[in-house]
């Protein structure tokens, strides 16, 4: 078990290094960041300062060395606009993104598991249809549009929640719902189909043959097995989640890192964007790591194949 976790951590670190390198290559191949920035602000002096700060006057492998060294120290560099360390900017913004994400995820889980399970158990019943409709709508609605429509209805027409910004707990409702619905949609379908597979399995028939009641069959024997593919998938859902959060933060003027990233792109403050990409990538990789470990805890078979 321990060696398995160790191995997964090693793989995660490797993945992280890949991402960092890719970001480096991408940022250098897009064009000279100093030039892009100064082209707009036009100070020769500023350019020299920038070059020095980023080590742009040195050969590429040297720049890469500096870059990796800084990353290892947890230093993502400074904003080219105002010189504030990027770690500081991100740390300020991260909690807002994180809490919104948790809210949305909580919403998604709270609805998707019961809907998926009930849909599978009572196939083709009204609840199954409801689950299907929710799922299909969630997967087809563009989140930015959903957000705007919700603002029109709940903030403009009925005025029960704030339309944008982060003011109190009520301001979580619209963005959280917008972000959560899409994720929920995927999960409902996954829970339902994986539950259907499990309910067909021999061990569920065996449990029934032992005289176990239907509620226990579903909640004990079936659900835990059905969640295994759901957990595997949840790591991937996160990708959609991150995409969604950039857009949703934008729609609701949410003070998270997604908004910062979009602003920085517009103002050409690339070190910030670079930092956000690395943070998102790291987040994705470590959530997947966590998911794998969780997987091993739920499914006793994993520990042994990993060795």
């Amino acid at each position: 078990m321990l060696s398995y976790i160790g191995l997964r951590i090693l793989q995660a670190l490797l993945g992280l290094w890949f991402i960092a390198t890719l970001v480096f290559i991408l940022s250098r191949s897009i064009g000279d960041p100093a030039e892009i920035f100064t082209a707009r602000h036009g100070h020769v002096h500023a350019r020299e300062m920038m070059e020095e700060r980023l080590g742009l006057d040195k050969p590429l492998y040297h720049q890469y060395g500096i870059y990796v060294g800084q990353l290892l120290r947890g230093d993502l560099g400074k904003s080219v606009r105002n010189g504030i360390p990027i770690t500081k900017i991100l740390m300020e913004r991260l909690p807002a993104t994180f809490t919104l994400g948790l809210f949305a995820l909580g919403f998604a889980i709270a609805f998707s598991i019961p809907l998926g399970v009930l849909g599978a158990v009572y196939r083709d019943s009204p609840i199954d249809w409801f689950a299907k409709v929710m799922a299909f709508l969630g997967q087809a609605m563009p989140p930015f549009w959903l957000g705007i429509m919700l603002i029109i209805l709940f903030a403009v027409v009925w005025d029960i929640v704030p339309p944008a910004g982060k003011t109190g707990w009520t301001s979580y409702i619209l963005p959280g719902f917008t972000l959560g619905w899409g994720v929920m949609a995927g999960m409902v379908r996954l829970v339902r189909s994986s539950m259907l597979d499990v309910l067909d399995s021999d061990y569920v028939t065996m449990a029934r043959a032992k005289g176990v009641g239907e509620i226990v069959v579903v909640s004990k024997h079936a659900l835990r097995n059905a969640l295994i593919p759901v957990i595997t998938y949840s790591g991937l859902v996160l990708g959609a989640f991150m995409n969604g959060s950039v857009v949703v933060e934008q729609v609701f003027a949410w003070p998270g890192i997604g908004t910062v990233a979009v602003q920085s792109v517009v103002s050409r403050d690339f070190p910030i964007v670079q930092g956000v990409v690395i943070v998102f990538g790291a987040f994705f990789i470590f959530i997947n790591l966590f998911v794998d470990i969780l997987y091993a805890v739920i499914d006793p078979r994993i520990k042994y194949t990993g060795q």
Binding site: G15, F18, I19, L137, P142, I148, N243, V277, G281
Partner: protein
């Protein structure tokens, strides 16, 4: 004893049968999504003849005309007009073109690359496989929208740049699925028999493996079209899609955002267009999967 000639007669019949079964299979497709898809396709192909107005001609006198069922609406602009007085309906119709063209191109490019990489990765095994898989993992770990945002913003907004940056993400998804499928087909006995016979590897890939992953690829491609339409719309919304004045649905929603309290219709209708397009593609893809590839309920 039937002679060889009777075999040939039956053979031609089988081709006919195949065609018939394909057509009759399509008859069982879900009706409404298929019709919407048909309309969508018609919009994309013949938009300029179907649209009642020129989608980019500005007529400030008509700006903010509400849809026809509102007071002040006009029958010539059924879904109303935007700030510059452009006809919403015409823009929605023409807007389908960008969505469709972009997602189909990306499916062809990225999907094609993904299928090839997936086949190679799954069939060759060990080193080549793990190299490709690491690459796929990294790409999948990247926040698509952010990367696309940065890229398009720096190299400039164009059809090509959006296509260029989204294709690898799609390729990665295809690679993963096709690889998995290839791995399992590779273990089937008919591949072993082909090796025993001495069938060359390229022929095994082409004749034995590729036809067996084909259904999965078709289903995946269909479902990914919906995904790409959403992605493209998001990018347009953020202002890095295909540049104006070509109407794109995402861009239209973004344009209507400022006027949500006064002219909701500017944002509503292009959004609905996206919703219906993606919904019907997904429903169609779902049906395809159930008929072609019932094992892959998770796709």
């Amino acid at each position: 004893m039937a002679s060889a000639s009777s075999t040939q007669i039956v053979m031609t019949n089988v081709w006919k049968l195949r065609l018939i079964s394909m057509v009759s299979g399509l008859k069982r497709a879900p009706k409404i999504p298929t019709v919407i898809l048909g309309i969508l396709l018609a919009f994309g192909l013949f938009g300029q003849w179907l649209a009642p107005h020129d989608p980019i001609s500005i007529d400030l006198a008509k700006s903010f005309t509400p849809p026809v069922w509102h007071e002040g609406g006009s029958a010539s602009n059924i879904l109303g007009t935007d700030k510059l007085g452009r006809d919403i309906l015409s823009r929605v119709i023409i807007g389908s073109r960008v969505s469709l063209a972009l997602s189909l191109t990306i499916i062809a490019l990225g999907g094609g690359a993904g299928v090839i990489l997936g086949l190679i990765s799954g069939y060759s095994g060990r080193k080549v496989d793990s190299l490709i898989q690491r690459g796929v993992e990294v790409i999948l770990a990247m926040p698509t929208i952010l990367v696309a945002l940065v890229f398009v913003f720096t190299v400039g907004r164009s059809f090509e740049s959006v296509m260029f940056i989204l294709s690898p993400f799609l390729a990665a998804r295809f690679t993963r699925i096709v690889r998995g499928e290839t791995l399992s087909i590779r273990e089937r006995d008919f591949v072993a028999v082909a090796k025993v016979i001495g069938t060359p590897s390229w022929m095994i890939l082409l004749r034995h493996i590729l036809p067996n992953v084909f259904n999965t690829v078709i289903v995946l491609a269909t479902l990914e079209v919906g995904h790409l339409i959403l992605l493209e719309a998001s990018l347009s919304f953020l202002g890095v899609g295909v540049p104006p004045p070509h109407p794109a649905w995402g861009l239209m929603v973004a344009g209507g955002r400022e006027f949500i309290s006064s002219a909701y219709w500017i944002a509503l209708f292009p959004g609905l267009a996206i919703l219906f397009a993606v919904l019907s593609i997904n429903l169609f893809g779902d049906w395809l999967r159930d008929t072609l590839d019932p094992r892959r309920r998770q796709l």
